[in-house]
Structure formats: structure tokens, C-alpha cells
Symmetry: C2
Subunit: 320 residues, 2 copies
Amino acid sequence: MDLVAGIDIGGTKTKLALVDKSGSCLARADFRTKEYPDLEKYLDNVKLSIDEMIEKTSAEVNLLGIGIGAPNASSHRGTIEHASNLLWKGIVPLVDKLKERIDLPIRITNDANVAAIGEMLFGNAKGMKDFVVITLGTGLGSGIVSNGKLVQGYDGFAGELGHFGVLAEDGRLTGLGVKGGLEAYVSATGLKRTILYMMSKYMEDSRFRSIAFNDLHGEEITQAAEEGDFIALKAFEYTGEILGKALANFTTFSQPEAFFLVGGLALSGSWIFEPTKRHLEENLLEVYRGKVKLLPSGMENKNSAVSGAAALIWSDHTNE
Amino acid sequence: MDLVAGIDIGGTKTKLALVDKSGSCLARADFRTKEYPDLEKYLDNVKLSIDEMIEKTSAEVNLLGIGIGAPNASSHRGTIEHASNLLWKGIVPLVDKLKERIDLPIRITNDANVAAIGEMLFGNAKGMKDFVVITLGTGLGSGIVSNGKLVQGYDGFAGELGHFGVLAEDGRLTGLGVKGGLEAYVSATGLKRTILYMMSKYMEDSRFRSIAFNDLHGEEITQAAEEGDFIALKAFEYTGEILGKALANFTTFSQPEAFFLVGGLALSGSWIFEPTKRHLEENLLEVYRGKVKLLPSGMENKNSAVSGAAALIWSDHTNE
């Protein structure tokens, strides 16, 4: 049975799975990334985990390759470069080192690109050739597909739309110091900052007046909106306006058939989708109106990262 | 001898050429577009012009196909749609109608995409897989190449960066009503508007204080800059700042190896290239610094439109 190993390298955990052609996970494993500050030992453990998953699988396994999602990954060089939330510093030649242990096709790319490829093979972007996945977590990531292929750029670092400057000079700074950068507004953290901003702007009562910033969690904002909290409603409207306008602008670049909103903040559902969709449509050039969809992920949430990683290899096989 | 017919459909003139694999024009023709308000007669004349060019060519001609550059062209549908500077209104099925007369592969796309494909096959983007061509004429057009292919989008209308909103809400309007849209600042017309703006802002003397807006031509602004005219220098710096920042932002989208500045305003040379390059580099994310080139066209100016149009067909053959 043909299978691909999908690996999601996160700051806390490394998750692995054997993934079949339909995106289903036949075996899973995980371990704590932080327990392996030594890359060589980390990769030994990756190999061990894969071997164990293969053993556990009842069918005869033909491993086609390994797909990896990781922060700051360069698909071109097979490296992880200066990832702030990983222990391995500098430029890490992950693919080459893993290949020394498992001599199969190995591909790596960042989390948002993994989300895009996963969506195309196994999710709601099936059959689409042009779309953009926006991942809304602590920050904002993006995976762009054009002509059925990931837009990776000259150096493998395309799709950093979280650092696209969308607001005027005096806007909020992103983690990389971009003034008015998108993710400073549109992300879990951005939404929390907007709660503060709205409480500074308006004097209406809100449950958030008695919660400190550091104690504030995204799900609470959704819950507050459902209860009609003035500040939460203002915050979602503001976030949707900034995101909608940004997506309208991005449409002039690659004219996607759809934008997908995935990740934590996207789970707020219509609270984020409705204002975003409205401002997107209002700000589109006439030639694009009514043609750009705004969609949720079609990936089963728990497996999306590892199935998506495996899709990096599966996409090579389905293209053949 | 294998040749491709390249056609550049402009509001005033239609230019045609037979183009060989190296981009050289072996025969040329042109006629006035405006003399043919009737599309059928126009296309009859296109066919006639191509036949005449073939006759004029001393070698035995094997015509591989026809590539066409035209305003508001949809490559997906083979149409010209609502082009304001052409006499044929609505949606014009140009490719289908021409195919009735010449049954060969026919491809059409807009001028900026033609410029991009031309640059890739015959110009300074040879060997590049990821780049963006910015055409600076009356407006601003863009042709985006990713993974060696034109980014055309879901509907064939990707790459309308002239209408990307780069400035705050109260910015200048583009012809399509986009507030703060790039081409309202960065184009021949945008530069002229900036001359007015700078004269409103500063009281320094300038040759432009005695020239009416309608009498002002782009080349004069370059000449004035060369003579040290304060207003012209301010205007180029301002234009380069807006363009450079926009290109830095666009880099987060597709991370091109190079941006090409082509067309009228690009002929101002270092007056536009220097400030653009400086603000581009200053505003790039760290991961992109020192990796993004800003280049002039490598196409022989007179033939770029028709050679580029022919490249639409030649690119199919070189990919094989």
C-alpha cells in the first residue's frame, strides 16, 4: 500500500502520520520537539517514529516519501532558517540530514504552504488552480497557489502576507517590524490588540474591561460577540474590514478563485467571515466582483497539518 | 522556417510582425485600428496583413500560430472585454473570430503580460522563473511570472497592480476609482500629478510653473531633473518612494527574483530607478534583502510589443 509520511514540526510538538492518497491517516505518532535540542538525535527519533508507524500498520507499506511542514522552511534549499520558536539555530539543513537516514523523496515547506497544498488535494480547494490560504493563528501566514502550483518565489519565501503593509505609516508593528503589517491586525494576537484599541476608543461597558490582556483568549472574544458585547462586535467588524480590504487588494495580484480562512481565528465563523466577505466584495475592482469566494477549510482539523505535509509528496504523484 | 505572427492591438495602431525563435522580426506591417470599427473587416485586414508579410518573406514560412497583445484581454476566454480605448464595445470574441480565418493556435493576453513573456523569452528575464514586469505608460500595468508561468488568475485578470491601493483612504483615485491606487502615483500621468502636488507643497521656482498640466510631457520632467529643477527632483523622489515601498510589499506575495520597469517612465533611467531601488531595499523584510533586482527591459524597444505577443506562442514550443 502506497503511503506518505507527513510531519508537522512545531515549537512544542512534532506530529507524524502515515497518510494515504485520500488524506486519511493510517498511523500516528508524536513527541516533544523541545526534548531534542540536538538535531541529529531529533532526526534519529523521526526515523524511529516512522519505522514504528510502518510496523504498526497492518498492510504492507510502500513509503513514497516524506512531506514536512515547519516554520521558516525554505522549500528550495530544504532548510529551516532562523526559526525563532525552534531550538536549532541558524540555517538547519533538515532535508539533507533526514535523507541520510531515509533515502526517499523529502519535501519541506512552511505551515501555510502545507495548508494550501492540503486544501488542494484533500480539502475545499479540490479542483482549484488559483487560490490563497490565509492561516490565522498567533500570526498570519499565507499559502498562494497559481496555475495549480505553490507560489514559492525565487528563494522559497513567497507568501509572507502577514508582513504586507496594509495600513498607513503610523500603524501597528508586526513581529518583524513592518509598520501597519496585516498580521498586527488580523490574527489571534491582532484581534486581542483590537479589543484594547476599541476599549480605548469607546467607553461602552464590556466584559473585557475586567480581563487583563495577558489573560485574554481568542475563544472568549467569539463568545462575547455572541452575547452582544459591544467591544467584541466592534473588534470583529474592524478586523474584517482590514482583512476584506487587504484581500480585495491581493486579488489584483493573482485573482484567486477563493481565499480560505483557516486556523484559530477562522473558527469564529461568521463573526470573522461576514465582515471580511462584505468588505472584500465592496472593495473589489468591478472586473472581479462576484467571482472571489471566501471559504473555510475543508480539512479535518486535527489532521490537517500532517495530511497537508504528506500532500507535498502526494501532489507529485497525482500530477504524473 | 518556423515563424509566429505577433500582433499588438493598440487604440491607434495595430502592429504586426513575423517573429522567429530568437525574437527577431522578419517582416512587419501596421495599419490604423480606428479605421475598422467593424470587427469582421478588421480581422479580414489582419489576415490580409499576415498573408502579405508571409509573401514578402524570402524563406518558406511555416506559421506556428498567432500571439496577440491587447488591452483588457482575457487569455482564458480569448476575448477583449470592455476596452475603453478600442471601438469594439462589450465582450469581443477576438480569438474565435480570427480562428475562423486562420486555423492555427491563437493566444491573447494583455499588454503587460505580453511584456512579461517577451522579457522571459527574448529579454532580460531569460532563465528567470519568478519575476514581475511593471509597465509604466499612461497607467501602470503588471505581468507576473511564477514558477515560469504567467499568473493569470481564475478568470484571466490577475496582475492589475495599477489598481492596488497603496496609500491611505484619502489618496488619489485611479481611473477605476481605487483610492490611493498605485497607478495614480506611478505612471506618466501620476508623475505629472505629482509635479502639481509638489508645486502646491513647495514655493521653489520651477520651469513647470509656466507650463499648463495639459501641455506637460513626461520627457520634459526627466530633462528638468537633469537640469536640477527642484520640483522635478522632488517628484521623482516621491514617485520612487511610493513605487519602492509597493514593490517591497509585493515581494511578500511572490518573492520575485527581479522587478522590471518598462515603458515610457522607465526611460527616465536612474531618475526613477535610483529612488525606487533605495526605497525597495529599505522596506524589504530581512529575509528578502539583497535578493530582489530592479532591472530595465532587455527588449529592443520598437519591437517589444509584437515580439512579446509572438512569445505567447513561442513559449509553448520552448516548453515542449
